[in-house]
Symmetry: C2
Subunit: 225 residues, 2 copies
């Protein structure tokens, strides 16, 4: 027989999935705005962040309320507190999409330095890591969470590559490009920070499922990479 | 008569204060390393981050354990869940000090662009905001939390000033300075991000005390600024 609390935990999962979709969509739109020089779309992302903030608060309240009403033990309690943490991570990810939109607005009136390839690639990795990390939470899927962790070095490398190219091939060689190139450099860093947030989520999931301290000890996953 | 749970909540406060001290110290040392070109100190910050990570996990476990054992109601429960959030924020702040230390190591062998004034100033603001935000939590002091929020625009402005000066007066005018200037620009952004984390803490404290949604509605505090 399904307990009442199970129904409410299902609703919590649905809310977190929705929060994840908001975050993914914000990342996608922010890079579309950058690629296509769409100021309105960038502004739209900034305005929509309110909805994410509202949902974050609602989820938080639901979690506290669940704990107060059901006084859940071990497994359910850990699921709820992990949900609260992931909720906060997703809100930060959506905030970073706002940061990207703001940087985009700064350069939207100026010509692109070059066709963007690596930044959209990094954005796609970030979006996919968000999706996988949330799915790993909802399904308690440790293997998927480990996959998120294993993708982070790729994101780091791509970010470093973008940084190096912008500094060496643009800013140093042609200083007139610097104000624009700096914005792109920041956007690449923002995307990589999103990936870092997804690894936080993945670590929380692994910790929740295994109650084992993988957090801060990624080397313990070495054999799985 | 003091309840058992009160004693344990006191210990939680002490732990969070300790976590705050770690974070403050890491910020201070990272800027000392930058100012004085001390590679060893920068490396020391990176190594010490393990201690912060360990304390974060211990605090998290204590919080879950407190909830499971005492099944606290309303006020205590909200205090504990807020403690968990603040704990995560402090761990991120210490991580950002590591980011600063890593940027410092990149430029430690090269001469300083100029005597650093604004970056240490921004670091001092960040450190003070960390201290105030944690004190506001421990003492449930809303006025102090609002003071943290009111300082954020100053940090934003200083960050923008540093950004503008580095791009316009250094990178564009003398591209040979660009690789170093970019690192300083990132460090300024890191410091400002620390300030953002302290405003998250302050908002959590206000929310905890007032159970009023100030979060994401800073305009409600306008009259206090």
């Amino acid at each position: 027989m399904e307990r009442h609390v199970d129904q409410e935990l299902k609703e919590l999962k649905t809310d977190i999935l929705k929060m994840g979709s908001f975050a993914e969509e914000a990342i996608y739109k922010s890079i579309e705005a950058l690629k296509n020089r769409e100021k309105e779309l960038a502004e739209n992302i900034i305005d929509s962040d309110m909805n994410v903030d509202r949902l974050e608060l609602a989820i938080d309240e639901k979690c506290i309320d669940l704990i107060a009403r059901y006084q859940p033990m071990a497994k359910d309690l850990r699921f709820i507190t992990t949900g609260m943490k992931i909720n906060a991570e997703l809100e930060r990810i959506a905030d970073i999409a706002v940061d990207i939109a703001q940087r985009t607005i700064e350069i939207v009136d100026k010509p692109l330095l070059k066709p963007l390839v690596d930044i959209p690639k990094l954005a796609a990795i970030a979006q996919n890591m968000v999706k996988m990390s949330i799915d790993s939470f909802v399904n308690g899927d440790i293997e998927l969470a480990k996959k998120v962790l294993s993708q982070d070095p790729e994101a780091d490398n791509l970010r470093n590559l973008i940084h190096k190219e912008l500094v060496e091939d643009y800013m140093v060689k042609d200083p007139a490009t610097t104000p624009r190139a700096v914005q792109l450099l920041l956007i690449a860093r923002f995307l990589e920070r999103i990936c870092d947030h997804t690894t936080n989520i993945a670590e929380d999931v692994i910790y929740m499922v295994q109650a084992e301290v993988v957090k801060h000890h990624p080397e313990r996953l070495k054999n799985d990479k």
